[in-house]
Each structure stands twice: as structure tokens, then as C-alpha cells.
């Protein structure tokens, strides 16, 4: 090899190495720059592509195309499971990087998100005041006078019952009080219609917490006061009695012992839809139409109904756990996102998504419109299973925490579901569970 060839080879080798290095640098720079936050285009409301990330299926393509034609905004929709989504929201907000232009605002996270200022107040973009009368659940999305997100469905807790199983046990009138409800379920059990007729999910997961909140409300109690102090520690409180009734129902066999590992969705999908249980005390609004009356997922089509949730002296209130949508502070196009949210939560779109304008406009699994006017319209059209009961329950539905979910809600909820689960599993008593939940609430409320 002569010296010139050697020099050329050496240059080539160095060039190859440098190219690799530069490519790596470019890749890393690309990674870093993809996380840019809002820039000078923040005010653009046309000719942009916004990213919408929800734990929900997207609207039909044609519907999104319609929105694009109307506004010039292209929507890139990502369906991410709820737990992962909360992690992504927290990680992106903490790192102050762009994640989405519009994403999930869960009712239970409103206090936390409000305190952290991770989302744009929707009041800056939409006329929230005009929505209030039509969206009873809007209150659950406000913190410190600011609206963190807009509810796009009206998920609230309802009681569902398999009317046929009640009738098979000789019960013709649906119960309205807890005592009657318990007696009827025992009758169903004694008549051999169902071995374990009551369905309450006792898995250590969020569904157990919400079931307890709903039962507490039915027993006339509240969970926390405006300062976050527990309201359930005395034995005559609604919360204590609710926990006792739930656990006792499991110990008495009204609820299957195996329900200590049943989550809310699993309970609905397998136990209620397959006719294993006669009633789900704290079910999701919309399940009758979206699940129990769908032949491919149910063996009890036409048998289930919503009943006003039995309470101490008559029907109790129904608590909301709606899904909301908001604009993260790091959104690239907040104004365009706001335009999308207005469209997405409009009365007509909600009617479309819930099946009021034909099957081709439906969002799969869409629970129930958050606007009462949309529910009324669906009810009038006769396209909503159990619409009459749902419409009346929605109008009276209440937030779980009238003063907004506290910023420490996730930690509190974890204490609720792990301890109530332990009481159901027999590793602690109801008394011990309630004490632990109360201690956690006191500790969190005091900020220690």
C-alpha cells in the first residue's frame, strides 16, 4: 500500500466515523427538539394538526374529516389506556415537554391538575358559564374557580338490575331502599335464581373506591368536608355504614367471595352481562345499551334495567365520574385545541357519538352525552336504552366531592381501595380499614 492510498483509506475511515457521530448527534438533537413546547404558532386555529390523546376510541374518520373541512384543523387521534395516559400527562408536564394539544382530564385528578396548573383554564377559551345549565357534571371539573376540563361524556354511577331474575324470584316491584334491596337479593339467592346475586367489585382498584363513594351517598353520607377532613369515621356515619354493608354482603354470600379480585369493568362484563348476578349496585351509566343489550357481549339482552339507586329512605343520589378533556400547558396549538373541544362536546356531536344520528357516526363505547339536552334528544328519539331513567338521574347527579377532588386524591383513593379490599379479604376488620382510611385523609389534609 503506498502512502497516498494509506492516507486516502485513513481519510475514508475518519469520514465514516465522523458521519456516524454526526448522525448520532442529529438523532439525539431530533429527539430533544421533538419535545418543544408551545411556540409562536400557539394562536393558529387553522391549517394545523393537533394531537388528541384520550383513553377512548376516535370518532369515525368521516366525522373528523368534516371537522377538518369546517375548521382547517387536522386531528391526530391516539387512544392510550387510562393508566398509561395519566403517567404520560404527569411525565410531560413535569418535564415541560409537548405531549398533546388536548387530552384526558379525569374528574378524580381535577384538584391535583388545578393546583399544579398543568392545564390551560378552559374559561379562557370557551364560554363555560353558558354550558353549566346543560352540563351538571361541569362542577366536578372546576378547581379554585377555574375549569380544568370539559366533560365529554356523562359517566355516573347507577344501579342496574336484571329484571327477569327479580321476577323469577317472585319480585315484581323494584326496591327503592337499601333494606328492601338487600331483602330482595336474599330472596333471589334463596330461590336459587343466583348463587351470589349482588355485584360489587372488591379488587384493590379505583372501581372499589367509587363503589364505596356511591354507597356512602346512598346511605346519606359524604366522604370529605371542604377542608378534606374525613366524614366517615363514626359508626353512624354514611361512609362507615356503607363499608359495613358492602363487606357484610360479601361475608353473607350475597356477593361472591371471589369478587375480592373482580374489577369494575370485569364485574360488568362477565358477571352482569353473563347473567351470573342479578344486580350491580354501582354500575356505569350507559352499560345497559352499550353492553348488556349487545348480543355479542351479553346473554341477558332485554333483561336489564337501570333502577334509581336504593338509599336509606328511598332512592339515593347518583355520583358522577365523568371523563373530561382539557388543554395541557405545553400544547402547541391551544386555540385550535379549544375549537376542537367545543366541537367535540357540542350537543349535536354528542347525539351523533351516542347513536342518535345513525350507526356510522357512533364512537364505540361512548357512554352517555354530558349535555342533558343531548340525553333528552336521544331519549325522545328512542335510541337510548333506559333513557328516561338515565335522563332523570343525570339531572340529579352530584359530584363525589362537592368542593372538588383534593390534590392528594390518588393517594387517598389508594388508601380507600387497599383497605376496603383487605376488609373484604378478611385480613383486617371494617373498623380497622375505616380507621386507616380516616388516618390517611387526616394526614394528607394536614399536609404532613
Amino acid at each position: 500500500m503506498n502512502s497516498m492510498t494509506r492516507r486516502t483509506s485513513r481519510r475514508l475511515r475518519i469520514a465514516a466515523g465522523l458521519t456516524t457521530l454526526v448522525a448520532t448527534g442529529a438523532a439525539l438533537t431530533g429527539c430533544a427538539s421533538s419535545g418543544s413546547g408551545s411556540g409562536g404558532d400557539a394562536d393558529k386555529t387553522s391549517g394545523v394538526t393537533i394531537s388528541v390523546v384520550l383513553a377512548y376510541d376516535p370518532p369515525p374518520k368521516a366525522t373528523l374529516e368534516e371537522f377538518k373541512k369546517e375548521t382547517g384543523i387536522t386531528v391526530k387521534w391516539s387512544n392510550v389506556d387510562w393508566d398509561s395516559l395519566q403517567t404520560k400527562i404527569a411525565a410531560a408536564a413535569t418535564a415541560k415537554t409537548y405531549f398533546a394539544d388536548a387530552t384526558d382530564v379525569d374528574w378524580s385528578r381535577v384538584g391535583q391538575l388545578g393546583k399544579l396548573g398543568w392545564f390551560h383554564p378552559m374559561d379562557d377559551y370557551v364560554d363555560v358559564a353558558s354550558m353549566k345549565s346543560d352540563m351538571p357534571q361541569l362542577a366536578s371539573f372546576q378547581d379554585g374557580g377555574k375549569t380544568v376540563g370539559i366533560p365529554f361524556d356523562a359517566s355516573f354511577m347507577v344501579t342496574t338490575a336484571n329484571q327477569k331474575m327479580f321476577q323469577d324470584a317472585g319480585i315484581s316491584t323494584m326496591p327503592t331502599t337499601i333494606d328492601d334491596y338487600t331483602a330482595d337479593l336474599k330472596q333471589i339467592q334463596n330461590k336459587g335464581v343466583s348463587e351470589h346475586p349482588l355485584n360489587i367489585p372488591f379488587a384493590a382498584a379505583e372501581g372499589l373506591s367509587t363503589a364505596w363513594y356511591q354507597t356512602t351517598a346512598a346511605f346519606g353520607g359524604t366522604i370529605l368536608d371542604s377542608k378534606g377532613k374525613p366524614q366517615f369515621t363514626s359508626k353512624d356515619s354514611g361512609g362507615y355504614r356503607a363499608a359495613s354493608w358492602m363487606v357484610q354482603s360479601l361475608k353473607d354470600g350475597l356477593i361472591a367471595p371471589a369478587n375480592i379480585n373482580v374489577s369494575d369493568s370485569q364485574g360488568a362484563q362477565t358477571l352482569m352481562a353473563k347473567g351470573v348476578v342479578a344486580s350491580t349496585y354501582s354500575d356505569y351509566s350507559g352499560d345497559v345499551g352499550a353492553l348488556y343489550n349487545v348480543a355479542s357481549s351479553s346473554t341477558v339482552t332485554g333483561q336489564t334495567v337501570y333502577i334509581p339507586t336504593p338509599g336509606v329512605d328511598g332512592p339515593g343520589p347518583n355520583l358522577t365520574n365523568a371523563d373530561g378533556i382539557g388543554i395541557p400547558m405545553t400544547a402547541k396549538y391551544p386555540k385550535a385545541a379549544a375549537k376542537f373541544i367545543q366541537w367535540f362536546t357540542s350537543r349535536q356531536k354528542q347525539i351523533d357519538f351516542a347513536g342518535g344520528s345513525g350507526k356510522d357516526k357512533v364512537i364505540l363505547g361512548y357512554a352517555l352525552p354530558s349535555r342533558v339536552s343531548a340525553v333528552d334528544a336521544l331519549n325522545e328519539k328512542g335510541t337510548l336504552d333506559g333513557g328516561e331513567v338515565l335522563a332523570s338521574l343525570l339531572k340529579k347527579s352530584k359530584p363525589v366531592f362537592p368542593d372538588g377532588a383534593p390534590s392528594w386524591y390518588p393517594e387517598f383513593s389508594r388508601a380507600v381501595y387497599t383497605n376496603l379490599h383487605a376488609a373484604a379479604a378478611g385480613t383486617m376488620t371494617v373498623d380497622q380499614a375505616i380507621k386507616k382510611i380516616g388516618d390517611t385523609a387526616n394526614q394528607l389534609a394536614s399536609g404532613s
Binding site: A16, G17, Q86, A203, A258, I260, N261, T427
Partner: protein
């Protein structure tokens, strides 16, 4: 240039092979440039975050309680005052013990079965690897249908065989049983990799060694005990270390099968709760650091106890 010939037949440069003044070879930058992308990625995505995590573990980094401030060992103290975390440490210790022992024993067993060629061996290996390729959450969901107390397959089989007269609740009531059954699901996932790692080691053992042993009168059991096991030690070590890492970080299986219940909650689950639900990043960093230290220490112990260099 004219080369001379030395007595030993080697070529020597002009000058009769006098010791030449050794010139310093210019360093070739190519190897460094070629490894630099990997090095940059490792430094940027692993080492720098690791150093950051170690430092931040001594600070109060709580989004709901700003500002960030130095608190020394405060995060670690709070970790050990939290009942949920201390119980999860106990659970995780059991996950590691059960998982490493079971996956290693089964890995050795399957590797020995697959050591010699037979009809359908390749197909069997392909099937064997499937659980390893499945996401943990999917496996959790599959096994929910087996362990479930309402409609589970195990209950159905045991009832049909009259082993039990009514359906039993397997998960959530007894801590040891819950941890064991949950870990069985993870063992199902990690054993294929253990098998392949051990099998790779076994493939290196020359057949002549077994032939010699056979001629010397060694029984199959004796050959396994005195030849296979000692010679497979490097592969077994790697398999055990990967099992330690997997079991110390178990998340999906207990989360899907038993939720956040204290009877099965793992340390990694607690890290998730503390970091992404409570938004207490400082405590999350501290817990992550403890998991890393535990991983290193246990892996080092395994290495010291099991690994022996093998040369053929």
C-alpha cells in the same frame, strides 16, 4: 527497501536487525468513532439519568410541595415508615426467591431436554419462546382466567376432578399463596429466556466429554450432575441474573392479578404509585435507587456463588 533474513528465518529491516527506536503509533480514531454512538446513547440515556436519580433521591422533589430542596436521607426514612412499601419489600423478596429458583430449575430441565437433537425440536423451541414474547399485562389477563375464583379454569378442573367441592378464592386472601401464584405467571414468562441462555451454554459442551464419561461408566444422572451442571455454570449465572432483574422489577403480573392489594403489591408498583400518582418524585427516585442497589448486590452474590469460568 531491502529486507535481510535472520537465522530464525524471520525478515529483518535493513541495518541487521538492530533494535530500532520504537516510534509511537498514532492512535486510530476509527474504533472510538464507531463505538461513540452507542457510548453516547448509554451515557445520555442511562448514565446521566442514573447520576441524576442518585442525586435527586436526596432532595424533596414533590410537584405538589414545591420548591425542590435538599432533605438528606428524608426520602429514605419516609419510605420505611410507609406500611405499603415495607409490605411490598417483603412481597418482592418472595417474588425474587420463588422466581429465580423456579425459573432456573425449569430452565435447566428444559435446556437438558432440548440439548440433543430430536424431531420437532425447533418447533418446540419456537413454542417455548412464546410466553417470553408476550407482554406481561397480556399474560396477567390470560392467567386471571385460570386463577379466577368466579369462573377460573383451575376451579373448574379441580371441581370436575372432585378435588374441591366448591369454587375457591386463590388470590388475595393469603399472602404467601398470592405471591406464589402470581410469581408462577412471571416464571412462565421468564423461563423461556433462562432455558435459551442455559441451552446456549450446553451447546458448547463437546460431545467427546460425554463419550469419555460414558466409557468411564458414568450414568446419565452422574453425567448430568458431574459434567452438565458444572459446565453450564456460565449460562446458569446469566439466566439467574436476568431472573433477578425481572423478578425485582415485577409489575404487570401482580397489578393485573391482584390490583394494589398489600397481599401481592411489589416495590416497582409502589414506585409507580409514589412517583406518578402522588407526584412525589424525590421518594420515587429514592425507591428506584434502592431497587437498583438491591439488583446489583443480589446479582453480584449470584455471580460470586454460581459463576465459574469454563474452557473447553
Amino acid at each position: 527497501m531491502t529486507l535481510g533474513l535472520r537465522a530464525d528465518g524471520r525478515l529483518v529491516p535493513p541495518g541487521g536487525g538492530r533494535p530500532a527506536v520504537r516510534r509511537r503509533r498514532a492512535a486510530d480514531p476509527l474504533p472510538y468513532l464507531l463505538v461513540s454512538p452507542l457510548a453516547i446513547f448509554i451515557i445520555g440515556l442511562a448514565l446521566i439519568p442514573a447520576v441524576f436519580t442518585i442525586g435527586a433521591a436526596f432532595f424533596r422533589v414533590d410537584e405538589l410541595d414545591p420548591p425542590t430542596r435538599f432533605i438528606g436521607l428524608g426520602n429514605f426514612v419516609r419510605l420505611f415508615q410507609d406500611d405499603a412499601i415495607t409490605s411490598s419489600i417483603g412481597n418482592t423478596a418472595l417474588y425474587v426467591l420463588i422466581g429465580v429458583v423456579l425459573s432456573t430449575v425449569l430452565g435447566i430441565l428444559f435446556a437438558v431436554i432440548l440439548q440433543k437433537p430430536f424431531l420437532g425440536r425447533s418447533a418446540l423451541i419456537a413454542v417455548l419462546i412464546l410466553p417470553w414474547a408476550l407482554p406481561g399485562v397480556v399474560e396477567g389477563i390470560i392467567w386471571v382466567n385460570i386463577w379466577d375464583g368466579n369462573t377460573g379454569l383451575l376451579n373448574s378442573v379441580l371441581t370436575t376432578l372432585h378435588v374441591i367441592d366448591h369454587y375457591q378464592v386463590f388470590l388475595g386472601q393469603n399472602q404467601l399463596l398470592t405471591v406464589f401464584l402470581t410469581e408462577v405467571v412471571q416464571v412462565w414468562q421468564i423461563t423461556p429466556l433462562s432455558t435459551l441462555l442455559i441451552l446456549a451454554g450446553l451447546q458448547n459442551i463437546p460431545a467427546e466429554i460425554y463419550e469419555s464419561a460414558s466409557i468411564d461408566g458414568a450414568s446419565p444422572w452422574g453425567a448430568f450432575w458431574r459434567l452438565t451442571l458444572p459446565l453450564a455454570r456460565p449460562g446458569i449465572t446469566v439466566a439467574m441474573v436476568q431472573a433477578v432483574i425481572a423478578t425485582l422489577n415485577v409489575f404487570d403480573q401482580p397489578f393485573v392479578l391482584n390490583g394494589a392489594a398489600a397481599t401481592g403489591s411489589s416495590v416497582t408498583m409502589q414506585t409507580y404509585f409514589v412517583t406518578f400518582q402522588n407526584l412525589d418524585f424525590g421518594e420515587g427516585y429514592a425507591l428506584s435507587l434502592l431497587i437498583t442497589i438491591a439488583t446489583l448486590v443480589i446479582s453480584f452474590i449470584v455471580l460470586k456463588l454460581v459463576y465459574r469460568p469454563v474452557e473447553f
